[in-house]
Symmetry: C2
Subunit: 400 residues, 2 copies
């Protein structure tokens, strides 16, 4: 079997953890598998590099910032190779140039375009564990790029796709994907498997242990992902294709308290108003989540939308700067989103109704509703979020 | 003019010094010159990396050690580019892959074979200051190598040769090359120019501000080197070709107290004895300096040689393990070498005699003598080294 294993910064933060990771990889190697390891920079090292740069130049050129960033992963992979060597196993570290990992040109937020697999295959054939720098690529100018948030997950999936790996294991500090956040819903249960689409919805809803881009890539190339803990040997959760799994309607409940509702009241009711509002917000890179448009009094329109709390004030500023033809605008940060996700609900009516019933039984008022084919999200008062999650979790018997 | 400027680790050890170097480079840039800067790792960062590695593996694979080392220079060049950008000047950092700097395969002690100048020329044409990582290369396997001691000087000279630079400035913490160490000979005088050969002899004698390999390379390609201080703007010393300079017989006096004499007494007088002794020492990488062979009592041979103090005990160990057929072996660490160097002495008889006279006048006993075409070295008691240097310096009127 060819296995790609990805470990994040906390997993390689110190000597003890580096050896811990080394031993886990060596287990697979000694079982006869080919092992490719993807690593992030150690602990908070990337933050240290940012501080170092900002001390020299508050607005460092992004090209040079990426040149600086990439040393973090190179440090991790070299030290890991030394640790494996110390444990008597041949290992070799490779950076983005050596692999090579071709990316788009955008510094700080590049996307991988193509990975040469020749060098890695050559080293695997020599029975070495191959350790690759995550998060980085090289662009057409032969410059380093970095892949943005969650970049090392993306590196791992892209490598798994290029090498036709049998699986891509993403190691985190949780045991896998749960039916709900165990800190909020005590009887939450770990799932054995979720579909790519479910995982994507969960990631978007703030319950994500994986970054969206890596899951999208895995879906595109059919890479079998496994989310598992670096702290224990439990099996984790498989993320894979297919529409119905375990015959479950709903696979998980997610809550997100970092939500604010912005309401614009009394907009003129004429064509293009909504377009103009959301176009202005998009130009300022404000991510909008749920949208509700309703008819107001006196033939006007009311538009409400949700965004994260940090963006809410800026959204209000953008609206006030670009529009004057409305009655009032207000922000409510004391709201939260609760969502159910499940590939099974595509072909099952009544799932949304069942969720609403659970909330009604618990006397929780629903303020907005948004749905996709495999997701139902409601906006409720923030202080009722955990209670709502528990009620919905019980209603669908997810803990059983 | 195209100028290559090399700054060592202490010159970029902190923010203030990085900006100091940036400003010096910008002066040349703004005067209309093309500027290529070669940097070492910041301050003691390479030592920190060694500690980090040894903590994981006392004997780390050299290939991985080089992978780790190279991040040091990459950090320096990225931060320098940010500093120049902050000062409003376009700059770009390049590592060994980006240049590319092709080297031999030996990890930890590679030699540069070929430098592609295309990328650097392209960036210079775009009127950028180009900042290159010193000390590193890439070998035929596409792996990082490092160039060993003095490696960044070698990088600078090799770049100057490849780019046909007008000069290669090596910045150090001294003003240039002196007729003797100013801490030992108070009236020592800074030289305006020395030949490559003189510089090579001086470097070998422990008076070197430049590493031998860089001077050899400069000689081979006729690169005009300038040794100057990063702390002031004094002109420094030019290192260039030609045999006679300033019509001086002797250009400098060097002393080296880190010397030990090993004497093997009563070896069998048969062919090949000396070969066997020095072959055994060479196999253990013990560098031998002066050698004296004399006829001992009863038809035996005595062989004395000098090495640095650290190697002396190991040399004794090697001799005792490989030979038994001699009377005694002893080590004397209380000795020092004093040398005169000068391209002029090639064609002038009597230079050595003049040096011996100076020592005789000062009542200093000579224990061994060794000469090359442009150098005379004597071994004397260590406690008389500074007095000997002063006497010789005065005899040749080097301070005038």
């Amino acid at each position: 079997m060819l296995i790609v294993k990805k470990f994040g910064g906390t997993s390689v933060a110190n000597k003890e953890r580096i050896f811990n990771v080394a031993r886990r990889c060596i287990e697979d190697y000694q079982a006869g598998h080919d092992v490719v390891v993807v690593l992030s920079a150690m602990g908070k090292y990337t933050d240290e590099l940012i501080d170092m740069a900002k001390d020299i130049n508050e607005l460092p050129p992004k090209r040079e910032m990426d040149m600086l960033f990439t040393i973090g992963e190179q440090m991790s992979v070299a030290l890991m190779a030394m640790a494996m060597n110390k444990l008597g196993v041949p290992a070799i570290s490779l950076n983005a140039f050596q692999v090579a990992m071709h990316s788009t040109s955008v510094y700080g937020n590049a996307r991988l375009k193509r990975i040469d697999s020749e060098r890695i295959r050559h080293e695997l054939e020599a029975r070495k564990i191959v350790i690759v720098t995550g998060f980085q690529g090289i662009n057409k100018y032969d410059d380093y790029t970095t892949l943005g948030r969650g970049g090392s997950d993306t590196t791992a999936v892209a490598l798994a796709a290029a090498l036709h790996a049998d699986k891509c294991e993403i190691y985190t500090d949780v045991d896998g994907v749960y039916t709900a956040d165990p800190r909020k819903v005590p009887n939450a249960r770990k799932l054995d498997a979720v579909t790519y689409d479910e995982m994507l919805e969960l990631a978007t809803l703030g319950a994500g242990v994986l970054h969206n881009r890596s899951v999208e890539l895995a879906k595109k190339y059919g890479v079998r992902m496994v989310v598992r803990s670096s702290l224990n040997t439990s099996e984790g959760t498989v993320v894979r294709g297919g529409s119905k799994m375990e015959k479950m309607l709903v696979s998980g409940v997610a809550g997100d308290a970092d939500t604010a509702r912005v309401a614009i009241v009394g907009l003129k009711d004429e064509p293009g108003v909504a377009f103009k509002v959301f176009n202005a917000l998009a130009k300022h890179n404000i991510n909008i989540d749920m949208i509700l448009q309703s008819v107001g009094r006196k033939g006007t329109k009311d538009i409400s939308f949700t965004t994260n709390e940090e963006s809410a004030e800026e959204a209000v500023k953008v609206i006030n700067e670009n529009f004057s033809d409305f009655e009032s605008i207000d922000v409510d940060k004391k709201v939260a989103k609760v969502s159910i996700v499940g590939a099974g609900m595509q072909s099952n009516a009544g799932v949304a109704a069942k969720m609403f019933e659970a909330l009604y039984d618990s006397n929780i008022n629903i303020r907005m509703i948004s749905t996709s084919e495999i997701r139902v999200t409601v906006l409720i008062d923030e202080d009722k979020m955990e209670r709502a999650m528990g009620a919905v979790h019980d209603k669908f018997a997810l803990g059983e």
